[in-house]
Each structure stands twice: as structure tokens, then as C-alpha cells.
């Protein structure tokens, strides 16, 4: 069974990937943030660089900051963004 998720990208990631948001049907073997990153990285150069490089990428599931091991559920809102710089 496929999981359907909504993906958001912000700041430098949004700009470089040229994606702000997308809906995605995930292959069944993908259940963690790390697996999702590896999956997206296969889209090509820029994707690999942004998501798998030494650049710090933060992830959130349903508006909560999570780490690479966090698991994704059907219907989740997942976001990728750089370290924050507000204030």
C-alpha cells in the first residue's frame, strides 16, 4: 500500500530545488525521513547535493521538528529546510 504525503521545501532548498510543495505517493519501502531523503536525492544532482550533502537539512513532520530516524505515516505533511535564522 502506498503512503500519500504532502511535501514542503523552504528557503535555500525551495530556491535551489525549484519546488515549494508537492504531493507524493511513496513506495512502500520508504518509512523514515532518511529513506525519503535518499529517495528524493535520486532525482538528480541538485537534489542529491541539497538533501544528502554535508549541508544541514532540517526536517519536520506535521509541524514538529524531527530527526532522520523519524517515521512517516500516510497523510503526513513533511517539510525540508535549512537551519533557521529568524529573530
Amino acid at each position: 500500500m502506498h503512503m500519500n504525503i504532502k511535501l514542503f521545501y523552504f528557503a535555500r532548498l525551495k530556491e535551489t530545488l525549484k519546488y515549494s510543495t508537492e504531493e507524493l505517493a511513496l513506495p512502500t519501502e520508504i518509512s523514515t525521513i532518511l529513506q525519503l531523503k535518499a529517495f528524493l536525492a535520486k532525482r538528480g544532482d541538485v537534489w542529491g547535493e541539497m538533501l544528502m550533502s554535508k549541508l544541514k537539512v532540517r526536517a519536520a513532520i506535521n509541524h514538529e521538528l524531527v530527526d532522520d530516524k523519524a517515521t512517516i505515516s500516510d497523510g503526513d505533511e513533511v517539510a525540508f529546510f535549512p537551519p533557521v535564522t529568524g529573530g
Partner: protein, 153 residues
């Protein structure tokens, strides 16, 4: 109270409202952040603030709640601006009111330190050359946050 907005805010009015709402408190501590005209040695002409609608408000709410749990606080207000700003524009306002000044100082600084490393805002700045760049996160901000995890009160 949490507000994420493009409009500017009136610091004096906000402080007065928190102050007058509580006749039994004596101390109101506030932090105002403004856009600096220089960063990393370059003159800055413009700053754009992006955020994550929904998550940003939730993150700020969680930080304010944590501060209220940890210290004896009457009220906390956080206002953060988004969109295009110029040097010397106000970016952020945090106010903490309390019966005890020490508690108000700690809560206000705690909120700023956590906001700086946990609230999803991103700054992009334009230099006089016309070039723009994303502002890099400072690890001193991470350090400032961790400080609160190691010391009591």
C-alpha cells in the same frame, strides 16, 4: 500571545497593554530586534523573511508555553515580522511580565534563544552590490539555547 505578521508593531503600546493587564505584577522585560545595516562585513540594503505558515506559529506557541512552565510569568507576547524589511526596521518583539524581575528577564531571554534556533524563519539579505544571499545560521545561537538545558532556574 503569538503574532506573525508583515506589518510593523508598536513596542510602547504592546508593553503598556501587558503591563496594565496585571495590577499585581511589577516587572515587564522586553526585547526588540532590528535589522542591522551590516552583516559579515557587507552593507545590507534589504532583508526578506520567509516562514513556514502553521509550523512557525506552533513553534512560537510551544516556546512561550515552555517559558511559562519554567518561570513565574504573568504573560508572554511574541511578535515576529515576515516579508521585506529594510535596515533599522523592527523584526521581532518579545515581552515577559512577572511579579519578579529575575523571572521576567530569564523568560524573555529564553524565548529569544529558542526562537533563534527553533522557530522556522529564514533570512535572505540583499547587499549594496545587488547580490543576495541566505543568512547562515550561527552556532552561537545553538550554544545560547543549550545553555538553558544545563542550568536550573
Amino acid at each position: 500571545m503569538i503574532r506573525v505578521q508583515t506589518e510593523d508593531f508598536d513596542v510602547g503600546l504592546e508593553i503598556q497593554q501587558l503591563r496594565l493587564a496585571q495590577p499585581n505584577i511589577g516587572a515587564v522585560v522586553s526585547f526588540v530586534g532590528q535589522v542591522r545595516d551590516m552583516n559579515e562585513g557587507d552593507a545590507i540594503t534589504e532583508l526578506t523573511l520567509e516562514h513556514y505558515p502553521g509550523m512557525t506559529e506552533k513553534a512560537l506557541e510551544a516556546i512561550a508555553t515552555q517559558a511559562k512552565t519554567r518561570w513565574d510569568i504573568a504573560d508572554i507576547l511574541i511578535i515576529h515580522r515576515i516579508g521585506q524589511l529594510k535596515p533599522q526596521d523592527q523584526i521581532v518583539l518579545v515581552i515577559a511580565s512577572s511579579a519578579h524581575r529575575g523571572e521576567a528577564f530569564k523568560a524573555c531571554e529564553f524565548v529569544m534563544d529558542y526562537l533563534k534556533s527553533e522557530a522556522p524563519f529564514w533570512k535572505k539579505e540583499v547587499m549594496t552590490s545587488g547580490e543576495s544571499r541566505w543568512v547562515e545560521a550561527k552556532h552561537t545561537d545553538e550554544d545560547a539555547k543549550h545553555r538553558w538545558q544545563h542550568h536550573k532556574n
